[in-house]
């Protein structure tokens, strides 16, 4: 082995320690959010469209009330907030598909960024966008005259937001399943169908009996019931909780397995 003379090559030797948190950094989140908000398609589908839906389908029902006397408009608004949040988190999680297709994830493997830190960044970005989607929908509702007690705003909002974690996992799952640049183009319609079965566009009760049975097993059903429970006062059925937890596990475990397959060496 040759020992080289100690020639001064740099004025300061770079800090070669590993990055904190595997490279997970708030500054990256800021750039990620800026990126997401710059995407017109994302803005249209997550922040604008659900609000417009409310104005079109919710407002005309102004003055009508639920069995417990609460406004129907609030029911519609909360349902659409769930929809907005699920589209937001799915598209942010599904961005992994785009980044894999572009080869960015390969580029990242040449940096100290740990794959887990990358996924954490995507999850936090997804949940931030999800929160934004819920808040925007609620603001539209409030501006249009929806009035409910403060605890309903808070609990329904939290349920809609936290429930959308299921769809952040779904987005990641799809992201690691298909490397496609425009993954949302085919997930979008799927989400709409799921939202339909989840009672986000019309109450599940108006569906034919058979479809109502099917609906209780679809991934949006649980989060829809949970988000509306503070408003309707109907309580939360075990079926809804099992549905939410079950789908969270399915997509979470699925995403984790595909993630591991993706990061494995070949």
């Amino acid at each position: 082995m040759t020992t080289l003379p100690a020639t001064p090559t740099r004025s300061v030797e770079p800090d070669r320690r590993l990055p904190a948190l595997g490279g997970f950094a708030p500054a990256v989140l800021r750039i990620e959010l800026r990126r997401v908000l710059r995407n017109r398609r994302t803005l249209a589908f997550t922040l604008i469209m659900p609000g417009v839906f409310f104005l079109i389908f919710g407002l005309p029902q102004g003055g009508q009330t639920l069995d417990n006397g609460r406004p129907v408009t609030a029911y519609v608004m909360i349902s659409l907030a769930v929809y907005a949040a699920m589209v937001a988190t799915t598209s942010a999680g599904g961005a992994v598909a785009t980044e894999r297709a572009l080869g960015w994830s390969r580029q990242l493997r040449l940096t100290p960024l740990r794959p887990s830190a990358y996924v954490a960044t995507k999850l936090v970005t997804a949940m931030t966008l999800g929160l934004l989607a819920v808040v925007v929908e609620f603001l539209v509702g409030a501006a249009a005259g929806v009035r409910v007690p403060a605890y309903v705003w808070l609990l329904s909002g939290l349920a809609a937001w936290l429930g959308s974690l299921v769809f952040a996992a779904f987005g990641l799952f799809i992201g690691y399943l298909v490397p496609a640049e425009n993954v949302m183009q085919f997930i979008g319609p799927i989400l709409a169908v799921l939202a339909m079965f989840g009672g986000l566009f019309v109450p599940v009760e108006v569906l034919p009996e058979v479809l109502q049975q099917v609906a209780t097993f679809t991934p949006v059903y649980g989060m829809g019931v949970l988000a509306r429970a503070p408003l309707t006062g109907d309580g939360v059925s075990a079926a809804a909780v099992v549905n939410l937890v079950g789908w969270a596990l399915v997509f979470g475990v699925g995403a984790a397995r595909l993630f591991r397959r993706d990061t494995a060496r070949v």
Partner: protein
């Protein structure tokens, strides 16, 4: 910190894809500060070797050491950086944002402004990546690789697809940032690039090193001449035994002698044998490259 470890130690690297052996027992040692061209035709196993070198692929057999440690460790500590053909960029970020974002993945980096300047793209920092030319994107990848101020820089055919001007700009950027002590390994199939920018050329063919030496030494492989003559029943062994003869090939009635002393061989052929139609041709780096990297040259050894 003075590293006494070789920058790169590849030992018996082997990688197969199904029935194809992409890399076949390749060994290579590169000392700190060397600028090495990894030269070979497409499909020679350059990219697969680089993938294993960087820890992107796992060798079927053999070992990789970078700066005395594993590739993963070197990557995680920013000691090695690479510009790959396959590394993608996010089209919706600007050039500046891409550098800024990547900088946060490291504990410490050079300032973003500095690497943009070094890579010659400071003027387009605000441009969205999707609107950059191929050459500009490649220089952005280069800027990203400069961020950690790596001890080892690996480039896989960095100028593929660039026009002449783009290639020149890219190499100028690399040179501008060259500093004593940084090891550079670049794969290329452009002879002129290897000749112009490397201290050492490693020729690979079918996953093996077929020649390894300083640029001058590799050129010397090609410095000789080939004497061709028509000589039915040539005594190959006797010709090969003549002083200055590197190789003798018999093709039917023709004999080809590779030699550093073409005059002596021509004289010998014309005075001591029945040879006629003597031709003398000089060979260049291109010929050496072809000879060393083409499979059908078994006799010319």
């Amino acid at each position: 910190m003075t590293s006494t470890h070789p920058a790169v130690e590849l030992d018996g690297l082997t990688k197969t894809f199904g029935a194809v052996t992409a890399v076949d027992g390749l060994s290579l040692r590169v000392q700190p500060g060397e600028v090495v061209a990894f030269l070979g035709p497409n499909g020679a196993g350059k990219t697969t070797t680089i993938d294993m070198l960087l820890g992107l692929a796992r060798p079927d057999a053999g070992t990789v050491r970078i700066l005395g440690g594993t590739p993963d460790n070197a990557v995680a500590r920013g000691r090695v950086a690479a510009v790959l053909q396959t590394g993608g960029l996010l089209k919706d970020l600007t050039v500046g944002e891409t550098v800024e974002m990547s900088a946060h993945f490291y504990r410490h980096t050079r300032p973003a402004v500095e690497v943009l300047e070094r890579a010659g793209i400071a003027d387009i920092a605000a441009r969205v990546v999707g609107r950059c030319s191929g050459g500009q994107q490649q220089r952005l990848r280069f800027a990203l690789a400069l961020l950690p101020d790596p001890d080892l820089m690996v480039l896989d055919e960095p100028t593929t697809g660039m026009d002449v001007e783009g290639r020149r700009d890219f190499w100028q950027a690399l040179r501008r940032d060259a500093r004593a002590g940084r090891t550079v390994i670049f794969a290329t199939h452009y002879l002129d690039e290897a000749d112009a920018y490397a201290d050492r050329i490693v020729l690979v063919r079918q996953g093996r090193v077929v020649a390894d030496g300083t640029t001058a030494e590799i050129k010397n492989l090609a410095a000789g001449r080939t004497v061709r003559a028509t000589l039915p029943g040539a005594d190959q062994a006797a010709l090969a035994a003549l002083p200055g003869v590197d190789a003798v090939e018999v093709r039917g009635d023709s004999v080809l002698v590779r030699t550093g002393d073409s005059d002596a061989i021509a004289r010998h052929l014309l005075t001591r044998t029945a040879a006629r139609d003597v031709e003398i041709t000089s060979r260049n780096l291109e010929d050496a490259f072809l000879a060393l990297t083409t499979a059908q040259t078994g006799a010319l050894r």
